[in-house]
Symmetry: C2
Subunit: 442 residues, 2 copies
């Protein structure tokens, strides 16, 4: 949608809201629909080609408004999570349709998804161990529980361990910054020998530092065999898996118990919207379920409805699936794929510019929209370069450490980015590098 | 703001956003301002009388846009939490101004606030006990930690205990559904004698069931004396404390370590916006702080800025303080007080209608906007009445249990509610009660 259509549609929406407020007393306080009303009214997957804004607004009045906030909010979320799961070709076990045991939920952030997965895994492990040895206390078990992630995993994984009150160990990644079977296996053996109980593994697809990928096809079978919950965190990279040429990066997700990525990062859905799927809904609800009278309702145990409050940390919920519905329909799957492809192409364009300048090096394989690069030479000179770049305020880079190297990260992430921006940014970086290297020689 | 002004202002905002998008390349990617820039630019408390929409929009361009998302998002939040804290006459220790140790943060829900408080308390207790007895493991301590709340507390408190992996015990409330010193003291003595370690108490001001108030003036000193973290949850009732005549209900908050209420419930700020204050910021950051390179920044240890990511479960944040800024200025403190007073007056109006009908009884003291009532008689007849009310779909009531009584809850909560609505609702309830009682006799 260009800005001129945005102006027109935005103003129509303002009138829609005002009309709603003026007419609110004419509406019922509670909808007439029955649980499950929504799914039959909309297609079972996202459109390939864009729908018009008109179509979507008409559906709002026809499909959403009669279902009011509840159950429409819940039911649209369930169906949108199925749509998105199918866009990624997630295994059927993660979908809700066909009355499977799995399903999706919108969380606020990948941090919350990791925490929710860890808490569910913790409860499951405690129940399993107490079933075998009823004399074990929860605390005695928790003292021995140990979770794992790669040393490249996001800090939110360590934080989930802190909050959950369990040990989290970092598995040394390989030369490509990936977690591999051998290193994990080694840690498991060492920890089991020390009397610990491995219960949870976070595999990262697309690390924050350099967009590296843990080896799911190696790690997954180990988790299944050793009865450890496998959570796959693809916060940034997940959006790319809607393109068939990148889908192989998700291979091995069939071994996972839970999977998460953030459509708010790279799929044009505004913050916040973090998409999480589990293979067994009852693993989540088992960890969190409490039912006071004021939250009971007549469809409680019907199996027809999803009580998302048992799937998450907060109790209240926003109607975030509307954002997904609008974006998926306004772009169509093809439009979203084209958007991802353009960003990846631009990052490769930047990569090739860097490679043409012998003063620079690429520090990690460029797979999606992130390019890790640096001046050949000391960390100090790279820190000086970063400082000049960010002080000039024409572009903004966030650095990282890869092993002991200070590295600059060029991320393609704006909705409107074009080749010209990338070219201009590179010219700018080169000029500042000239200055830094000249200053160093002086 | 009436709907006709809403139409005009809403459309201006659409144009503002479109202009921003069209002109974005002319803006700097990173602001020029220094940390702490914002506070001196705005008043140190909320206006008593309403500001105009024009004034606020002008301030957006002048004060917020130069500070972009960061640091404006953080700094406005800190100042708004001070504004709101002053509206409630919170003790100075909870405010950020004057470089105190306390401060406020916006959470998504009261559930999150309770969890964050419990986790901070848990970390603090573990550190204290390990300092005294370094041989104690975290798990050995957690096994003994015990938290308390009234048997009327919201289910999210029990949930926080589950997530935090600590025991939570319900203290029997008194005849007014309030937690009192004697019952708490009794539990403490019994649990200490059993070798447990009391560390955390949640006191509720305005319970979900019947808007009862735990006795803070009794419970607070016990918590302080016994070195237990006191968290005060006033999710619903907190908004009323901006009125001097209701402020006494908050007396005793000076004993608390953390305090929370939801402006999204009753202070006209859209969902979600849950306001939480702590007396010592370092208690929160101590529980959650992790600093990977990609999240480091040059003002890290300057003491000048607030890293809210250490105060909450998620990492990402939305710019929710803008909602507070707009609401506080558009209504002014007096306008917000008038809004609260009107609701309380209407709930007393409903109460007196109920009292005039000898078939009904009031089940708990009416203090704010909630009236708990029922037909004198069996739970069955009241369940039948509720069923008729909610099936008719003219009004919607959520029930509760008070001890073994099934109770109907009439909540005044709409922005546009008037006396006529209350009168009409009561006529409707009486008619349905006639039907229910007639059906019972037949």
């Amino acid at each position: 949608m260009n800005t001129s259509e945005f102006r027109r549609r935005g103003k129509e929406m303002v009138d829609y809201v005002a009309d709603y407020m003026e007419g609110i007393e004419g509406r019922q306080v509670y909808p007439d629909v029955e649980p499950g009303y929504l799914r039959p009214l909309i297609p079972d997957s996202a459109p390939q080609e864009p729908d018009t804004f008109e179509d979507i607004i008409n559906d709002i009045e026809k499909i959403i408004m009669p279902g009011a906030a509840s159950p429409a909010c819940t039911e649209l979320e369930t169906v949108m999570m199925d749509w998105l799961g199918k866009m990624l070709e997630l295994p059927k076990a993660f979908l809700t349709e066909n009355a499977g045991e799995g399903g999706g939920v919108i969380q606020g952030s990948a941090s919350e998804a990791t925490l929710v997965a860890l808490l569910a895994a913790r409860t499951k492990a405690i129940h399993r161990l107490q079933a075998a040895s009823p004399e074990l206390t929860q605390a005695a078990i928790m003292e021995k529980l140990v979770a794992y992630s790669s040393d490249q995993a996001h800090s939110s994984v360590e934080r989930a361990g802190l909050i959950g009150g369990v040990k989290l160990k970092a598995i040394p990644s390989d030369g490509n910054f990936a977690m591999r079977a051998s290193a994990l296996q080694e840690a498991l053996e060492r920890d089991r020998a020390a009397g610990l109980i491995p219960f949870f593994v976070v595999a990262t697809l697309g690390t924050t530092t350099c967009c590296s990928f843990d080896n799911l096809l190696e790690v997954g079978p180990i988790c299944n065999k050793e009865d450890m919950w496998l959570h796959v965190d693809a916060a940034y990279a997940g959006s790319a898996f809607i393109c068939p040429e990148f889908r192989h990066l998700l291979n091995g997700v069939e071994f996972a118990d839970s999977f998460n990525f953030n459509p708010h990062k790279w799929l044009l859905v505004n913050f916040d919207c973090s998409a999480m799927w589990v293979k067994k809904r009852s693993d989540l609800t088992g960890a969190f379920r409490l039912d006071p009278t004021y939250l009971k309702h007549s469809h409680q145990d019907s199996g027809l409805i999803t009580d998302y409050r048992h799937w998450q940390i907060p109790l209240g919920r926003r109607f975030r699936s509307l954002k997904m519905w609008f974006v998926f329909r306004m772009y169509g799957v093809k439009g979203l794929q084209a958007y991802i492809r353009k960003h990846v192409q631009l990052s490769h364009e930047f990569e090739s510019l860097v490679l043409q300048d012998p003063r620079f090096e690429i520090c990690a394989e460029v797979t999606l929209g992130l390019v890790c690069f640096r001046l050949k030479g000391s960390n100090k000179v790279n820190e000086a370069l970063l400082q000049r770049i960010n002080s000039a305020k024409k572009i903004h880079l966030v650095p990282c450490h890869l092993r002991d190297k200070f590295v600059l990260r060029f991320a393609i992430c704006s909705r409107t980015v074009e080749s010209a921006h990338v070219q201009r940014a590179w010219e700018h970086i080169k000029e500042l590098a000239d200055d830094v290297l000249r200053a160093e020689r002086e």
